[in-house]
């Protein structure tokens, strides 16, 4: 219930949790930020201890006292161990690949143990989406969790608040902490995949020749670059255990297509962006050279993963004319 309240009142949460988001770089969970409370099971444990104590007094069982006190000490030590399981851990977030609106952004969260002991069973949970994952962080090593955060809007999606929680070792205490690292994921507009024809060539300076297979001239191989489409990787060469190579074509260069905001006068902003995103994907798939024009933004004709990403990013970040 308190958590629900804090989710609604971020400033109260900031004050309570002792940090102001977003936090740059590596976030270290200092003691001030690690909270701990008994779990339901913990209260049951306390009840067990009370019964043991009463039994020991009633029957004057010295070893009963010893057992009760040993378990009480174990509970105390367990509390320290639970807090320690989170304390001074370092959190960082890796790069998240852009996604389309409606998909889920995959944030890679790295938990650096920074300790000589391992930190088992640590739950990382995205507070808003409740996407979560449990990881064991080895001693002095790194644990990785992937949080899938639904992308509901185009543009930059910040990771938001992440809760880290553990109940190790006895399950009778729950220790948790919140972080909100500075990490974001680019969300492209939702591509509209209607089977609309590509805009006709007349609308652009260039002429569109229907791209027919076999028309493209294979011109050779070059070293693979991260932005190359997997369709163009020379898989046969890879299979021969050589380096990744990319096939180059020359024939495609002939066609050039303008994807223009102005083509879609009857739509609102988001619908236009969706349609344009769909066209970008379609154009990339069919292998033509394409260019993008938005009010105030113009991307020259090109092709390939990098070009496609640039176009989609422009669509994602479009702020209006």
């Amino acid at each position: 219930m308190i958590n629900a309240l804090l989710d609604k009142r971020p400033r109260l949460a900031n004050w309570l949790y002792g940090f102001t988001p977003p936090e740059r770089g590596v976030v270290v969970l200092v003691h001030r930020r690690v909270y701990i409370l008994p779990t339901q099971l913990g209260w049951l444990f306390v009840m067990t201890l009370a019964i043991l104590l009463i039994g020991s007094i009633n029957y004057a069982l010295s070893l009963g006292f010893a057992l009760t006190f040993l378990l009480a000490g174990t509970g105390l030590a367990g509390m320290v161990h639970t807090a320690r399981n989170l304390a001074r851990m370092a959190i960082s977030v890796g790069r998240a690949e852009p996604v389309f609106m409606g998909e889920a952004a995959q944030f890679r969260v790295y938990l650096d143990a920074r300790s000589a002991f391992d930190r088992p069973a640590i739950l990382a949970r995205h507070v808003l989406s409740r996407s979560q994952m449990v990881v064991d962080v080895p001693a002095g090593g790194l644990g990785e969790v992937v949080l899938a955060v639904p992308a509901a809007r185009r543009g930059w999606l910040p990771i938001g608040r992440v809760m880290l929680e553990t109940r190790f070792p006895l399950g009778i205490f729950r220790s948790w902490s919140y972080v909100e690292p500075e990490a974001r994921c680019l969300v492209y507009p939702r591509p509209e995949r209607s089977a609309l024809p590509l805009p006709s060539a007349e609308s652009a300076r260039g002429a569109l020749r229907s791209p027919t297979p076999g028309n493209d001239d294979y011109s050779g191989l070059r070293a693979y670059q991260l932005s190359d489409s997997p369709r163009h990787v020379a898989w046969k060469a890879v299979a021969r255990n050589e380096d990744m190579l990319t096939k180059q074509f020359t024939g495609e260069a002939a066609a050039e297509l303008w994807l223009d905001w102005a083509h879609l006068p009857h739509f609102n902003v988001e619908q236009r962006l969706s349609r344009l995103a769909g066209w970008v994907l379609e154009a990339e798939r069919s292998g033509v050279q394409y260019a993008l024009r938005l009010p105030g933004v113009e991307i020259a004709a090109g092709r390939g993963e990098a070009h496609r990403a640039a176009c989609l990013q422009a669509l994602a970040l479009y702020e209006g004319p």
Binding site: N58, L63, F65, T74, S115, P120
Partner: protein
């Protein structure tokens, strides 16, 4: 958006085979002693429940329905009721708990149920202590605590190796030990019980009773059980003087002696020049009121009273180990006067039994002589009668004294004491039977005298005008060695004695002495740690009248300090910097001082390359440090020589 189930919540994580194995193994450790005590069918039923749970785990069969579990529980309870006629007695209750551990296991689906079963396991440990709190039990139960704790850890870290979990359990218990010790010493103790205990709570405690019939004591003498231990300040009294006074018996019905009615008197210490002994007694619980003291008590312990016949009583039954300090005087001056009614009671005999004995004593009386003469004649009769001393006396009928004195002529101390007292009374000398213990084993290791049931003894006190009540030991008269050297040597070789009492077992006795010295320490300091002892201990630490306010304050101070120490420990383990990282940071500082500051997002490779370019004079060492750091940090872990090399390189790095 629908909330996902919480993966760390024990409500949703199902028990795995590993969890189940750990759980049932640790439960098995703690119920094993009960299982050996239980009726065979209950042990079998419990084992079946465990087996059933494993079967459904392995065959992926569904667990039995709730109703079936309840039905099994009902059958078990019915069986226990038929066996014990109660469900709430100690034995019945504990055995039901053992059964419930199996039932709980059978309905355990998730980690939460498993954790509840583990807590039940903790509770089962304490039930073992109702039966015995010996050192071996404590050790086995320590293993139980360890196993259950490791099981709980396994629940909260399902992917961790069992070895790691065991190590964590050991670490947790090691961290718990100091807090446990502080709590044990400082937690304000109160005297139980808080409410009524089940009726059979103290069943099965053996020991002297307030009646004595032929065969009682010789049965008791077969038991090796410890009655009490006495620690003397200075030299303990020699064996023949060690008469430990117990119940005094007045009334005789021809066969059985009983204590009858008595009353308490104001204690008056004995006068005289007899030697005094100061000692403390650690009495095992026997569920009776009386305390054992060396004759004759010259002081009274706290919360104790003295009866008119010199017996010391506690104000409540001794139901837990009791420690009391005493002073006793050997051969004091005795009170020469006694009331008429008491003397009359000490002369009463049933006229219809033991006619031959009565006739014999009346003959002596008629022949004339003082009370002292009667005493001598009776002792002479016993000495000259070729009596034999045996732990296995023949069975006697209603005229038990006649049969013993004239027919069987073989008996244990109760036969001698009974017969002698009857002779005295018949001869007109007031006499009573005193039961108690004689001797006790002096442990040469710690100088503590251990008195066992096998030292049970009975003797007589006669009232001689002008001298008061005088102790006469007819057994000693007939068999002097019984009192001088102890029971073991007084009996014919190896006659039915407990193994360790046999003289031929000398080598075993040495080991036993050492073990008993240890057990005594255990009994005094661990098991006998009660409110009184706590107060004494606090006093020796300089804390006067330690009430629960003070104790709690000290306790919480200690616990707080301990938790803090634990936190500091965990911090130290955290902040101890990785030597590789430390060397790298020193390297970065050195370069930063020369103007090459590492950008936050700059990796070690980029940084060292850039630095090498900026500081060409130190190009080679900078690049080597960068490469070495990358290898150590991101390679297959750091090894010692490589780390040392990195540290040396950083130290020797000269940036002119």
């Amino acid at each position: 958006m629908k909330a996902l189930p919480h993966p760390l919540s024990p409500d949703v994580r199902p028990l795995t085979l590993r969890d189940l194995t750990w759980l049932s193994a640790s439960l098995a450790i703690v119920i094993a002693p009960h299982a050996l005590r239980a009726p065979w069918w209950l042990t079998l039923l419990t084992l079946c429940l465990y087996g059933w749970r494993f079967y459904s785990m392995l065959s992926r069969a569904p667990l039995p329905s709730r109703w079936l579990v309840i039905a099994v529980a009902f059958i078990g309870m019915l069986g226990v009721w038929m066996e014990y006629r109660t469900l709430f007695g100690r034995q019945a209750g504990v055995l039901l708990l053992m059964l419930f551990s199996g039932l709980k296991l059978l309905e355990s689906r998730h980690h939460r149920d498993g954790a509840v079963a583990a807590f039940l396991g903790y509770f089962l440990i304490i039930t073992n202590f109702l039966y015995t709190q010996s050192i071996p039990t404590a050790l086995v139960m320590c293993v139980g605590v360890f196993a259950i704790t490791a099981t709980l850890i396994g629940f909260s870290a399902p992917n961790r190796s069992a070895r790691d979990n065991l190590r964590t359990a050991a670490l947790l218990l090691a961290h718990a030990a100091p807090a446990a010790l502080v709590l044990f010493v400082l937690f304000p103790r109160v005297n139980g019980p808080l409410w009524g205990l089940p009726q059979d709570a103290y069943a099965g405690m053996t020991g002297l009773s307030d009646t004595m019939s032929p065969g009682n004591l010789s049965q008791l003498a077969l038991s090796d059980a410890i009655v009490f231990r006495a620690t003397f300040e200075g030299e303990p009294p020699p064996q023949p003087l060690r008469y430990w006074r117990g119940p005094v018996l007045w009334d005789f019905d021809g066969r059985t002696w009983s204590a009858g009615l008595g009353h308490l008197v104001n204690f008056q210490p004995p006068r005289g020049a007899g030697r005094s002994y100061r000692y403390s007694v650690l009495l095992e619980p026997h569920n009776r009121f009386w305390l054992f003291t060396l004759e004759t008590a010259a002081s009274l312990p706290e919360r104790a009273r003295m009866s008119f016949d010199g017996q010391v009583f506690s104000t409540s039954p001794v139901r837990s180990r009791l420690r009391y300090d005493m002073v006793s005087m050997v051969n004091p001056e005795r009170e020469p006067n006694e009331t008429r009614s008491t003397l009359n009671r000490a002369l009463r005999l049933p006229a219809e039994y033991n006619k031959r004995t009565l006739a014999l004593a009346e003959g002596w009386r008629r022949a004339g002589g003082s009370d002292a003469d009667m005493l001598t004649r009776a002792l002479d009769f016993l000495r000259g009668g070729r009596f034999s001393y045996t732990l296995e006396p023949p069975l006697l009928g209603v005229n038990s004294v006649d049969e013993f004195l004239f027919d069987t002529k073989a008996g244990f101390c109760e036969h001698f004491a009974s017969a002698f007292t009857v002779l005295m009374r018949a001869a007109g000398v007031p006499a009573r039977v005193v039961t108690g213990y004689q001797g006790g084993d002096l442990n040469p290791v710690d100088q503590i005298i251990t008195v066992r049931q096998s030292d049970a003894h009975a003797w007589t006190e006669v009232f001689i005008a002008g001298r008061g009540w005088v102790r006469v030991d007819p057994t000693a008269a007939a068999m002097p060695s019984r009192v001088d050297i102890g029971l073991a040597r007084a009996l014919p070789q190896d006659q039915g004695l407990p193994l360790l009492m046999r003289p031929s077992m000398e080598w075993l006795r040495g080991a036993r002495y050492r073990w008993e010295a240890l057990s005594h320490k255990w009994n005094v300091w661990v098991l006998g740690y009660n409110p009184e002892r706590q107060r004494d201990l606090m006093l020796s630490f300089g804390m006067r009248d330690a009430d629960w306010h003070k104790l709690t304050a000290v306790l919480f101070t200690f616990l707080g300090a301990m938790t803090l120490a634990l936190l500091v420990w965990s911090l130290r383990r955290l902040t101890r910097p990785d030597p590789v990282q430390k060397a790298w940071q020193a390297f970065c500082r050195k370069l930063a001082a020369r103007g090459v500051v590492r950008a936050p997002q700059e990796g070690p490779r980029d940084y060292s390359t850039r630095a090498a370019r900026a500081l060409p004079a130190a190009r080679r060492p900078i690049l080597r440090i960068g490469a070495l750091y990358i290898a150590l940090r991101y390679g297959n872990g750091a090894d010692k020589p490589a780390t040392a090399r990195l540290q040396r390189l950083v130290r020797q790095l000269e940036l002119a």
